[in-house]
Amino acid sequence: MNDFERMLRDAAGTLPAAPGAAAAERLAERAAGEGLLDVAYAPVDSPLGPLLVAATPRGLARVAYLESWSPDQVLEDLAERVSPRVVEAPERLDEQRRELEDYFTGRRTEFEFPIDWSVLRGFTRKVLRETARIHFGDVRTYADVAAGAGSPRAVRAAGNALGANPMPIVVPCHRVIRTGGALGGYTGGLERKEFLLRLEGSRL
């Protein structure tokens, strides 16, 4: 590199370096307006640690515990399963953030924002749709959910589907426990399942 190129480089150093948050927000809004924002996501704080929440234009697509998953893992998975047009757009998730906050502070017992069921397939979708019908404060067994999903003998498969729930908290897999009352497993760790059940006043 000669002196002249160095001068050019120094000059470029005086250029505005970054577009800033306003430009990012404008970009996300415009992308959404033109139907190009297939998956919007945002970090959301919770008493269970940081979450990543993602939605398609049809509804919620993902809630991930960031102490269990890295953001890169979550986003790569969304890019592969839903669409590579994944963009951080906190303002697109205001509703979800607000409702989650209300839930954790005891002001809300069910979520009103839609869920995009099309991101799920087959038996997993059936099991999770069945799970979504369990109300705040109630619990069901794995066997109940398997039966509700139309396959009473597929208790283990139902357990696997619940373990792979991409929308914990909102699709309340924490409300599914073992026959006999043992908690069973939980995608985010058992202490989180206990926390959620206590929050909902379920007898443990």
Binding site: F4, T14, L15, P16, R30, E76, A79, R85
Partner: protein, 158 residues
């Protein structure tokens, strides 16, 4: 077989800064934001159809190069208000050239040369990558850098 594309946000995070500086250098700070927006919207539109996840930086900068050319064309169609030119404004201060002056001259180069010089001298881009940006051969990319720098240097030394 479709390719595995990274989440689009990864491109924004990795290359947003370079694209923004590129736009600012090519069209100036006032229009930089528009150039930036146009670039990323066009990239987002085309993204799912990409057949390779390689050279994503040069792919985005190629779009930015085209958007910067659009901005230049649009400007050349607009009437330019002529302000009163203060005496001596046309002559350069002797000896040192200010940073904005260097960038101003870069903007005056033909489109391929100014993109080539910026990508090479400021971003340190290899010629193979630059060839993707310019949709040219590596040799042509090299020539554009060489010609652009030569021209800038000649004007500077004049």
């Amino acid at each position: 077989m479709s390719v595995r594309l990274p989440p689009f946000q990864a491109l924004l995070d990795a290359h947003g800064r370079d694209v923004y500086r590129f736009c600012a250098a090519m069209v100036g700070p006032v229009e930089a934001d528009d150039c930036y927006q146009e670039t990323w919207i066009a990239a987002l539109r085309a993204y799912p159809r990409l057949r390779s996840a390689r050279n994503l930086r040069s792919w985005v900068l190629r779009i930015a190069h085209n958007k910067a050319m659009d901005a230049h064309r649009a400007r050349s169609r607009r009437p330019i208000p002529v302000a009163a030119v203060p005496d001596g404004a046309a002559s350069r201060p002797a000896g040192n050239s200010s940073e904005s002056e260097v960038l101003g001259r870069l903007k005056e180069l033909p489109p391929k040369q100014r993109t080539a010089v910026f990508c090479r001298s400021v971003l340190g881009m290899p010629y193979a990558e630059l060839a993707v940006v310019l949709e040219s051969s590596e040799d042509a990319a090299r020539r554009n850098v060489h010609e652009g720098l030569k021209r800038l240097r000649e004007e500077y030394e004049r």
